[in-house]
Symmetry: none
Subunit: 414 residues, 2 copies
């Protein structure tokens, strides 16, 4: 059972609008156990549309289309489907009356150009549109079932739920349940993570396990299919357990969880408090922590010590230390974290220093991307030195994650 | 000249991630007068990829692909291009050395997995990746030129600009010119902004002007087409001038500029310095300012005074003021900003307090979404009280924008 989703419109191929319908439909199909192999977006061009629809009718079992059902000249879907199916367009009187009634409701007479919205390829079914004037079309062409819906998201959502989804059920093309499980890690690169999981991520493994990198988070996704939820859970659980065992403390959460969720959760659980002193990350560690509801119970506050004089005046870092080690150094990171912890009276404090660029610092041995982070706690500290490649934004966001991760790793061992 | 854009990855076809690369690339091609006829997204499946690439090589003149160039087993683009072109994969020593050097820079040895990233279809050119380990591929297959780039947006952006775009120029496949001009505003809602521009944003206006809202920024986009850049500029300029005249100080920038860019630019121009004290925004105002290269010249630093005791101990806000007015009040916002300005010795300071939710505060008269911001300067202050509807994240990001906007409006009048 292979699905294809087609979006129609030059406003999308030109880049003017972002297509979000395809993602929404893919998720809906996945919930029913139907996996999507292709998204295709095509401009408002008759020949290109015919080619795309013909191609889809040959390579997919189910094709959901959005767009091209309006009353204007660049709305081609009706005609395209008729041509690819080799049938004529015929008027549906019931649809025509309904469209006229919508205009009457607004105190207007239906313009002539809306008449074409009541035309359907012979042999197709009407998908009723309770939200607007464009009915959808349901028909089989070659090997595939086609469901054509309007491009306006609010109209499409309702038509999918009320008209298309029940038809998928009747066709018996639901494959039961399809579940994606996402496991999030931080601390190693994509290839280092995969090296620990080569037997699991290899092509053909059942269930399928994919690996993706997103801003220094490396995630594993387990895709499993079965006739019911319990069966799918039984497929996923042993694989998830194996992944967790192999990756150990690299794993910090699942699904949409971020490092800050893990840190705030651990702080609450272990009844510890934290404060933050930031240079290179400029407030981002603090912001990440404050994104988590309930952070105020464990997060006292923080200082962005951006200019050196703030590090000296507000935190009390000795000028001599900055002079001798350089402000971007492990020594200064540790001193900042220690002083911050004492100043704010918290159990823990994390610090960041570094060069985010684009301009380089004074020390050629410490190029843009050089960062240091420290976690201070009573009786000691842990630290991390790293060199990032990337933009200013990437260096800042990833360094903030390093700082959060130091706190997470420490808290996990308590 | 017909272009096709291919995105590769099951995380996109499954609906887990939203594809934004295709839109970005379509816009870039449009700027060069190249129109995109198709977007195709395909899962990490060898046969489906081969079919998609073969199809594109026959129906398009230019094909830009993103994704599938990583070091893992589900990265198939190298193999797919070689198979469709009917050539073998050969190792590029220079690329291999470069990838190794990237790992060395971080003090690590290249994992064996990454070796495959130095493999290229015979006869192709290497697209150098200065942002990461995945080089791109440039080659002609059947009638189409292919440019394969990484899926990570930051890597793709740079590779497109530095490697692909110059090659498009050399091929002579640019047509006329298509320019989109974006004007960004903050301070009023979408309909209030449009009310001032109804004659310009109406359908059929030449040039076309669209209006979009994104996280409290309202942007106007002017779309113009012509045979050369000068002609297009002459179409855009009078419309832009009219928009700026109507909207006045709501306009803070163009294209990708954000409020923090305007604020840092104004601070540099007027030779003023700023500091920040944040409660509800938790470090986000500070982070926004530090996103701007060169911020260290004008930004001293900031304090996230998240818990009340930090407001009292670190800033010296009188406990009685908090008790009498409530911590979420205009009075506390003003007091925080004043004390922050004196503490950090800056010309300006901004503050934020409020309730971001999801849990409500103690005062039923101040529901979730109630926020106050103040700007302190020598001799006075400006303030803004607002009530946002939305999620915790929306309340935080939008309130940070209110604080930046207070600074911008003040600096503009200096």
């Amino acid at each position: 059972m292979r699905a294809e989703i087609i979006s129609i419109g030059s406003e999308i191929t030109s880049g003017q609008n972002l297509d979000t319908n395809s993602q929404w439909l893919s998720r809906k199909l996945a919930e029913m156990g139907i996996s999507t192999a292709y998204h295709t977006t095509v401009a408002d061009d008759l020949e290109a549309n015919i080619e795309v629809f013909r191609n889809a009718s040959q390579r997919a079992d189910l094709v959901l289309c959005t767009g091209g059902l309006g009353p204007t000249q660049d709305d081609l879907t009706r005609e395209v489907m008729a041509q690819v199916a080799g049938v004529e367009l015929i008027e549906d009187l019931e649809s025509l009356e309904y469209i006229k009634s919508l205009f009457l409701k607004r105190g207007r007479v239906m313009p002539d150009r809306n008449k074409c919205q009541a035309l359907f390829p012979k042999g197709s079914e009407v998908l009723f549109n309770e939200m607007g004037t464009a009915p959808g079309i349901w028909m089989k062409i070659n090997r595939a079932w086609f469901g054509a819906m309007p491009g306006v998201p609010s109209e499409m959502f309702v038509m999918y739920e009320k008209q298309v989804k029940p038809r998928l059920g009747k066709l018996g093309i639901q494959g039961g349940v399809f579940v994606q499980r996402k496991i999030n890690t931080f601390g190693e690169g994509e290839s280092a993570v995969e090296d620990k999981l080569l037997d699991i991520t290899k092509r053909g493994h059942v269930p399928e396990v994919g690996i993706t990198a997103s801003d220094a988070y490396i995630s594993l996704r387990i895709f499993a299919r079965g006739s019911n939820l319990q069966q799918v859970q039984e497929i996923i659980e042993p694989v998830e357990a194996k992944i967790r065992e192999r990756l150990g403390d690299l794993v910090f959460g699942t699904e949409d969880q971020k490092l800050q969720d893990a840190v705030v959760h651990l702080l609450l659980e272990k009844r510890k408090t934290i404060s933050v002193v930031e240079s290179v990350t400029g407030g981002l560690v603090s912001h990440y922590i404050c994104q988590v509801p309930g952070a105020s119970q464990v997060y006292a506050g923080g200082i962005t010590a951006y200019q050196n004089r703030i590090k000296i005046d507000e935190l009390g870092v000795p000028e001599s230390l900055i002079r001798e080690q350089g402000v971007v150094s492990l020594e200064v990171a540790i001193d900042l974290a220690r002083r911050c912890r004492l100043k704010f009276g918290t159990d823990l404090a994390v610090s960041t220093v570094g060069y985010a660029g684009p301009e380089a610092g004074d020390d050629p041995a410490k190029p843009v991307g050089t960062v240091f982070s420290a976690l201070s706690f009573e009786g000691g500290e842990t630290t991390k030195a790293h060199h990032w490649l990337g933009t200013r934004d990437e260096i800042q966001t990833r360094t903030a994650k390093i700082a959060l991760n130091l706190a997470r790793l420490y808290l996990m061992k308590l």
